[in-house]
């Protein structure tokens, strides 16, 4: 016992000692997923950087860019973020150089030229970088309203910034062209409409002025359409005066021919360059203005019927709200030369065309109306679907309501009001009974065989008239008629009447009816027994309890003083034979009588008299008591 206690104490000490040796329990904090980036401050930061540059605070812009580049962001966003601020730093550096250059530059200075290229390049790259950056940042906003306000605000700022940058570059171009000196410069101003229709005349008003220069100046105006096509107009103008130059803008077909992709608005850039000679030195002046070359879609409304019959001409109406004439082509089902139906001119107002199309298949078709680019109009394509349907076939069929047979046929009258060969098929109860072909007969009488009818029946007759000309449809008429077999019907009525009236016949019929009914009922009982599966009880077979069992046991117990009770292997009669030698005759008689009754009770379906059995038991009791 002492040893047990000692072991227990040592165990406790060891556990506690180990526990106290653990002095540091590290609690590890499950790292939770980092929250996503909040784009709003980054948008503000970008806005501040752009504002600083626009205001010329380059040192402040550098500080902002440096702070921005130190921010840690998710990898996809970080790349765009660093690209933007990297380009901004590059731009700041270029703008600082441009400021210095502006003060002292010779005309056509290579340094200025290089700076101009670099500025153009960084402007293009910066514009692309900012657009992608802002687009990526906008995905991080959780609130739609905040996204809308902040993104819109920065987009407007970016647009202003780019516009300002373009102006700065334009100024630098001027510095490149004329140098940094003041005084001997030509000031060029040009004006033109903000929008001009394609194919029309563009009027450019230009003026060249100067404080110190007089005389004549060469004015060259470059008009560039869609950054692709350039027209050059030269004129000599007196310095201090104004002139107007007229330039025909390209039409839609002109631009299409040279492969320019047409749009409703294309940019026009007009650059005017004026040069004059002063004391042997050339002085220049420069101005640039933008405009827009406008094209419109022709306003055409095309009307085509929804359905036509074969060989029927198609009436096409085109309502045109256009200036001048527009060439149009109409195609059937496909826009290619093989399917060209008509080539025409469309004028202002309603233009109607009748198209005669032969051998047009039944079904859906399409009509295409196509106009080419012309003048101030862009190209136009419109399709309308129409259906070619079969000519209707007019036919009437009549059959008598009641037909008495014999003969086993009836006559159906068919009238076809269509000048076409046709085939008539007659079905009686969906069975084809007759098929004939007529070339050109409008009224026909068909003798249609009828099925054998025992007494009376109603038949559905279907008459189908089908044109042999594929351009015509078919028609089906459904009729019905009662067919009466008169001889058989009369015979049946007579037989039935006789049977009903004759006594012997009526008795026989009554007996026969009852037998038939009885047979039917027995048949149904047998089938029920057959159909019902035998009830297989899952429980064990149980014997019926004998009615005299209790009396039997009583009598056996009374007889037990004379003989042993019946063994399991013993029958009742064997038991009685064993008992016989041990009891008197009166008892034998009583026992024999009872055992006979008991045998009947347990082995047969017959009833036994319980009262008699009880009397026997009572008398045996009396004997037993004696």
């Amino acid at each position: 016992m002492t040893g047990d206690v000692l072991r227990l104490v040592v165990a406790v000490l060891l556990i506690v000692l180990i526990g106290t040796s653990v002095c540091v329990v590290g609690i590890s904090e499950e790292s939770s997923e980092l929250p996503e980036v909040d784009p709003a401050p980054l948008i503000e930061l970008l806005g501040d950087a752009l504002m600083m540059i626009m205001e010329g605070h380059y040192a402040g812009a550098r500080d902002i860019c440096s702070e921005a580049m130190a921010i840690t962001l998710p990898s996809g966003l970080e790349y765009l973020h660093l690209r933007v601020y990297g380009k901004l730093l590059e731009l700041v550096s270029n703008l600082e150089r441009a400021e210095k250059v502006r003060e002292s530059a010779e005309p056509k200075s290579p340094e200025v030229k290089v700076l101009l290229y670099e500025l153009y390049e960084v402007k293009l790259e910066l514009e692309d970088a900012i657009i992608r950056y802002v687009s990526e940042l906008s995905k991080y906003f959780k609130d739609d309203a905040t996204r809308y306000v902040m993104v819109r605000s920065v987009e407007e700022l970016v647009a202003s910034f780019m516009s300002r940058l373009s102006s700065d570059i334009d100024e630098l171009v001027e510095v490149y062209l004329r140098g940094s000196r003041g005084g001997d410069v030509l000031k060029v101003t040009i004006s033109l409409p903000k929008k001009v229709l394609g194919g029309s005349v563009l009027e450019v008003s230009a003026a060249v002025t100067s404080e110190h220069v007089t005389g004549l100046a060469n004015l060259t105006v470059f008009v560039t359409y869609a950054d692709t096509v350039t027209e050059v107009v030269n004129e000599v103008i007196k310095v201090g005066s104004q002139t107007s130059l007229y330039v025909r803008t390209p039409s839609a077909e002109d631009l299409t021919q040279i492969g320019v992709e047409l749009d409703e608005e294309l940019p026009i850039k007009v650059v005017a360059l004026a040069t004059a000679s002063v004391s042997g030195e050339e002085v220049v002046g420069y101005a640039a203005v933008d405009s827009v070359l406008v094209f419109t879609r022709p306003r055409l409304t095309i009307m085509v019927p929804n359905r036509v019959y074969p060989e029927q001409p198609i009436n096409v109406t085109i309502l045109a709200r256009i200036d001048g004439v527009l060439k149009a082509k109409i195609y059937l089902d496909k826009v290619d030369t093989a399917h060209l139906l008509l080539e025409t001119d469309l004028k202002l107002g309603k233009n109607t065309f009748l198209l005669n199309l032969s051998n047009l298949s039944v079904g859906y078709h399409k009509l295409y109306v196509v106009t080419e680019p012309s003048g101030a109009y862009l190209g136009f394509t419109h399709s309308s679907a129409f259906a070619v349907v079969k000519q209707p076939l007019v036919a009437v069929a009549e059959a008598p309501e009641i037909v008495v047979i014999p003969p086993l046929s009836t006559v159906i009258h068919v009238y076809v009001d269509t000048p076409t060969p046709y085939e008539v098929t007659v079905y009686v109860e969906n069975r084809e009974m007759l098929r004939v072909t007529y070339l050109n007969k409008s009224r026909i009488y068909l003798t249609v065989p009828l099925p054998l009818t025992p007494l009376l029946w109603r038949y559905n007759i279907k008459v189908e008239v089908r044109s042999l000309d594929p351009l015509y449809g078919s028609v089906t008429k459904t009729l019905s008629t009662y067919v009466v077999n008169l001889p058989l019907l009369l015979a049946a009525v007579v037989a039935l009447g006789l049977a009903m009236v004759t006594p012997a016949s009526s008795r026989y019929m009554s007996f026969s009816l009852r037998s038939v009914l009885h047979s039917f009922s027995r048949l149904s009982r047998a089938s029920t027994r057959r159909t019902q599966p035998p009830a297989v009880s899952k429980s064990l077979v149980r014997f019926r309890r004998p009615r005299l069992l209790k009396l039997y046991r009583k009598i056996i117990s009374l007889l037990s003083k004379f003989s042993e009770p019946p063994k399991r292997s013993e029958t009742l009669r064997e038991f009685f034979r064993r008992l016989q030698s041990k009891v008197g005759s009166s008892i034998q008689q009583l026992v024999w009588r009872f055992l006979s009754m008991y045998e009947v009770d347990i082995y047969s379906q017959h009833d036994v008299s319980e009262s008699e059995a009880r009397e026997i038991a009572r008398r045996l009791e009396e004997y037993g008591a004696e």
């Binding site: 609690i27 909040d38 709003a40 401050p41 306000v149």
Partner: protein
Amino acid sequence: MVLSRTMILMIAATVVVSVLAVTINVPSTTPYSPYCTGPEGYSELVKILNAVVVYSPADVSHSSDAVILLPLERDLSSSDYLTLKNLVVGGATLIIADEGRYSDALLSYLGVHIRVANYTVLDEVRKLRDRFHPVINVSLGRGRYAEVTTFMPSYILEGGVGGPVLGYTSKYAYADVDGSGFYSLGEVMKEYLIVGSWHVGNGTVVLVRDLDAFSNSLIGEEGNVAFIRYITGLRKAYLVVGGLRLGGVDELKLALSAVGLGRTMRSREFLLATYLLLAAVFAVVRYSEKAR
């Protein structure tokens, strides 16, 4: 079974020593507890400053050479205000870490009238890891700065600052008024004042609107260590825990440390020696009984 008195005494002694050892050595999990070694605990702060942990300002020895760190999660009693005022006026530096408004009454008592706000300040631009960890640019005076990392700090709304220690967020920080964790329209982006200081008598009061800047997870940041070491200097530091919501175990640890058991009970050698001594005594007694 009948236990002898010796046995009972031995078991009792062992249990007492073990319970004391467990109480003192098993770390706490209560946030901001000096006995908590987890990320939210202040155990590293105590180690770095070799600070004395006391429950009440009254336990701080009166000295102009003291730096009192006072993290607050609940109000102090008014008797503490007087004690603290005497300490500060006498020349001590009081550093209050409070994200709520528990220091309002104390500051007012000390003559510092400011307004604070409870909203969390987030900063996506100047941050550590994410915008919930704004990095505060703290001016320590004499041209010295420290970048202190905080976690979801609140800010000083108005009242001006008189002392040299000032800490601002970047100008792209914002107070998350709706608690969405993101900037929402109407929220203001600006520089928020997170750390302020005021001269009171001969001492200084520094208010840091964040409790986590001194926690184990952030105290290891270079800026945070530099900040606390600069303010503390070589002076004796006291960590007053009466303003924290400590659990019973922490308070028991504090009490045991106060009676001087802390050091000895933390020593494994001491504990081992104690158990071996108890076992030796028991063996001797049993042997003598048997011999008898």
